[in-house]
Amino acid sequence: MKLHWERKAGRCILSDHKLQPFFMQSNSCDPWYNLAVEEYLFSQIGDQDILLFLWQNEKTVVIGKNQNAWKECLWQLLEQDGGKLARRLSGGGAVYHDIGNLNFTLITTRKNDHESDQMQMLLHALQYCGIDAAFSGRNDLCVQNRKFSGMASYINSHKVLKHGTLLLHTDLDNMARYLTVSPAKIKSKGVDSVQARVINLQALNKDLTVAKLGQALQDSFRQYYGDAIILTSNALDETTIKNHYDKYASWEWRFGTSPDFDVEVEHSFNWGSVNIGLSLKDGLIQNAALYSDAMDCVFIEILANAMIGHPLNATTLLTTLSPLPQNALQQKMLQDILRLVLEKP
């Protein structure tokens, strides 16, 4: 681990072949902050290092690097309820986090990435907590054929980041509520989420807390890799974390980096039925085709043209389009159409 000031001096103090373990636990439950820290740690990890990072988020939906924000969750509902939408670096599908869920991140270099050791280390910690888990497929941990952990990774030319969730007492009703896939027809070039039957670990061991599981993971990590250097928030370069945070919180990252996609929605209103086809690139509306049997089809065409080039984002569309209606009916049509394109996808 090159702590941030070491890096500026261009030094590397670790040279022996044994892996140097590092451990960090986040004090924050803000997904954007935790992802910023995770990315910072990824950038700082050295050739002979391995790091375990434990973190939790308050009510959050985290979508994969290559997912479509509109398609994977009801983020409008989530934000209304005070939750946050976040996009992570790794691939995979959308997951729901709350404080009943513990996230772990393992970071090391590609040449030191021995997955079976790492997975044994995880299973060992779970075993210690009385959970006899098994792998399912390549990325899931299951017990009684039900999934309680999903993992995903990010790989660059040198390093690997793997992270996963561990459901302890997550609100499964909320999970189902926010992760409901939208009924709109979205054809995306990105990655789709896969539904799975899930289980909370507390249903198996009611005494198991987040703290106990966290400690078991930390202990198991030490057993496998040796005494870990414990990092605190002092190890983080505030400016870099701030930059990363701003990225994770930004509309551009969360929505704008959605893979190119086409959306098609249809609805009947009392003023007529409408069929909307939008094609998006980097979150921007490239093409808008609005078909309606409404009387005022000119206004529909005006709306369609006005949308092009703008992000599919409530604030921007509202400010762009709100001067357009000339009467109460047009006002109503605009509201209905906006609600349709913003909420339905």
């Binding site: 890096r7 950038s43 290559n66 670096l89 790794s90 790989i155």
Partner: protein
């Protein structure tokens, strides 16, 4: 040259991956390290990083398409660049501030740093080197000399004096060793000169280390402005130092005693005692602690008639009671008079350039006429003038010293304090260790200061070394203990050296044999204690020690014997 780009390997060795993003189009210029496109397989996302620079001439894939590891993705017309790594984020190549550029102009300067340390004693300068080694830009402010009290007015100069005293004592008994010195004399000016040479050499050594490690040293005073700013005043200029973190290492000063007559010209402190070119005939040392007893032995060896007046029941009262008794006996035999449980009430001037120390012992007022009085009643933290109040830095409950947590951080986050100014254990090696702990925490590694295995070395004649619990404190803490004791007189090397006084005591937990503490009085005691410090720190057992081979003939064999002795199995001693 045409370079075909493929994924080479796919994440998790998947058979195929989905292209999720294309960053470069035909005609785009690319640099080595640029991300060309991104793909995903088995929930792992992976960017394809260019290892070439040139222009994209062909693109074979589109977003959403699936590819295999060796499918061509695009072609670059250009040249390959070996060993490309992903672009570093822009924060990594911040230009360093050229703060030497402004050095030519005196008056006001500003220096930007990661860490500013106030005080270059053994706490401050060690912290500075450690932080610099870890890549920190460090500014170290010192108003006097680097090395602080330890090097300039404490540990080192006194050890030079101790060595002169030893040589002088040995010369006096040279005949015992078959050597004859006919005309023996002591030249205090040469003693002091040698001491100054050693101090200067070490000081230059530290200055060299600091400069080699790239630490900026400012000679001047320091005042805290805010959590990230220190104002340093030099003789002809003012420097504003900005820093992400601060360490206060301002040390301690000699306590001025509230005793009537303490300002008399015959009354000196330890700083003056290190500069005496002419020795008094009689000297009274007020305070029988470490400093007082070291000077008592030094001056007694130089032929001064020394008396010690100590307020407590014992001299060196922090030591193991057996050690106190032994050093008391040795001091008496050497001719040092010791008045214990005695409180100095006043120092009165006499008519003949002498003075009289008035003290009360066992409710009886006593008088000692003397040429000189050496005050050694303690030291107090230096916090005045620092401006800690306006930043809200809290003091210890007794209002002496700056309050710190186990990370050495003060009540103000980002400001740390180490060494004597924390008033915890006023020892150079504690300050250095606290400095290392502070720096490790500053660099983001969580690490606590642990005081359980702090050794002390006392340079009386013979030396004393102690670590951990003593017999008394161990019992008070409720341990069932066993004590291994071994006399120096039963050690071959010590006898050969002509040093037969003293003993070693090892205190271990009865059941487990875990070593809790040790005390040594005898030759090389200050060096031998290192072995036992390691034992206490790493919780070694008696068995760990006695199963280790100790070289013969060395004084260290007493450690081995004492560990055996704790189980009643000494080989070279028949205990009572």
């Amino acid at each position: 040259m045409k370079i075909d780009i493929t994924a080479k390997t796919l994440p998790k060795n998947a058979a195929e991956a989905k292209i999720t993003k294309i960053h470069k189009q035909i005609g785009d210029e690319v640099q080595s390290g640029d991300s060309l496109l991104e793909l995903e397989a088995n929930k792992a996302s992976m960017p394809i990083i260019s290892q070439a620079r040139g222009t994209i001439t062909a693109l074979y894939v589109e977003a959403g398409q699936k590819v295999k590891a060796d499918d061509p993705l695009c072609t670059i017309e250009g040249e390959e660049v070996l060993d490309a790594s992903p672009k570093q984020s822009s924060t990594d190549d911040k230009p360093s501030l050229g703060y030497f550029a402004g050095m030519m102009k005196p008056q006001k300067k500003t220096v930007a740093s990661d860490l500013c340390i106030i005080g270059a004693g053994p706490g401050g300068y060690v912290a500075a080197i450690k932080a610099a080694q870890l890549g920190c830009r460090v500014v170290l402010i010192e108003k006097e000399h680097v090395g602080g009290t330890c090097l300039n007015w404490g540990c080192i100069p006194t050890k030079c004096m101790v060595r002169s005293a030893e040589v002088y004592t040995t010369l006096q008994s040279a005949e015992d060793y078959g050597c004859f010195a006919d005309y023996l004399r002591l030249d205090m000016r040469r003693v002091l000169q040698r001491k100054d040479e050693v101090v200067t050499q070490l000081r230059q050594g530290i200055e060299h280390l600091l400069s080699e490690n790239g630490v900026t040293v400012l000679s001047g005073t320091a005042e805290l402005v805010d959590r990230n700013t220190v104002l340093s005043k030099q003789s002809s200029s003012e420097t504003t130092v900005t820093a992400k973190k601060l360490i206060i290492a301002t040390g301690s000063r000699i306590t001025n005693p509230p005793i009537p007559g303490a300002q008399l010209k015959q009354v000196i402190n330890s700083d003056i005692a290190l500069q005496l070119e002419a020795l008094p005939v009689k000297m009274v040392v007020v305070g029988g602690g470490v400093v007082g007893m070291e000077f008592a032995f030094i001056f007694s060896s130089f032929g001064v008639n020394v008396s010690v007046v100590e307020y407590a029941d014992q001299i060196l009262s922090n030591c193991d009671p057996d050690i106190c008794a032994e050093i008391y006996q040795i001091a008496i035999e050497k001719g040092i008079k010791i008045y214990r449980h005695a409180m100095v009430e006043a120092i009165l001037p006499a008519q003949d350039d002498q003075c009289v120390v008035v003290f009360k012992q066992d409710d009886e007022v006593k008088y000692l006429a003397t040429d000189m009085v050496l005050m050694s009643i303690g030291r107090e933290p230096v916090i005045a003038g620092l401006g800690f109040e306006k930043l809200g830095i809290e003091l210890n409950d007794n209002k002496k010293g700056i309050k710190v947590n186990e990370h050495m951080e003060t009540s103000v986050p980002g400001i740390y304090a180490i060494g004597d100014v924390t008033n915890r254990m006023l020892l150079a090696h504690v300050a250095s260790h606290q400095g290392i702990v502070a720096v490790r925490n500053i660099m983001g590694e969580s690490c606590d200061m642990d005081y359980t295995a702090v050794p002390s070395a006392i340079f009386t004649e013979p030396e004393i070394g102690i670590v951990g619990l003593n017999e008394e404190t161990a019992r008070k803490k409720g341990y069932d203990i066993t004590v291994g004791k071994f006399p120096v007189g039963a050690n071959g090397k010590a006898l050969a050296m002509g040093e037969s006084r003293g003993f070693i005591k090892i205190i271990a937990e009865e059941k487990s044999g875990t070593i809790l503490g040790a005390a040594i009085i005898g030759p090389h005691a200050s060096d031998l204690i290192a072995d036992l410090t390691l034992a206490v720190n790493r919780k070694l057992t008696l068995r760990d020690i006695y199963e280790t081979i100790y070289a013969h003939p060395t004084t260290a064999e007493i450690i081995h014997e004492a560990a055996l002795g704790a189980e009643g199995r000494s080989l070279h001693f028949v205990g009572s």
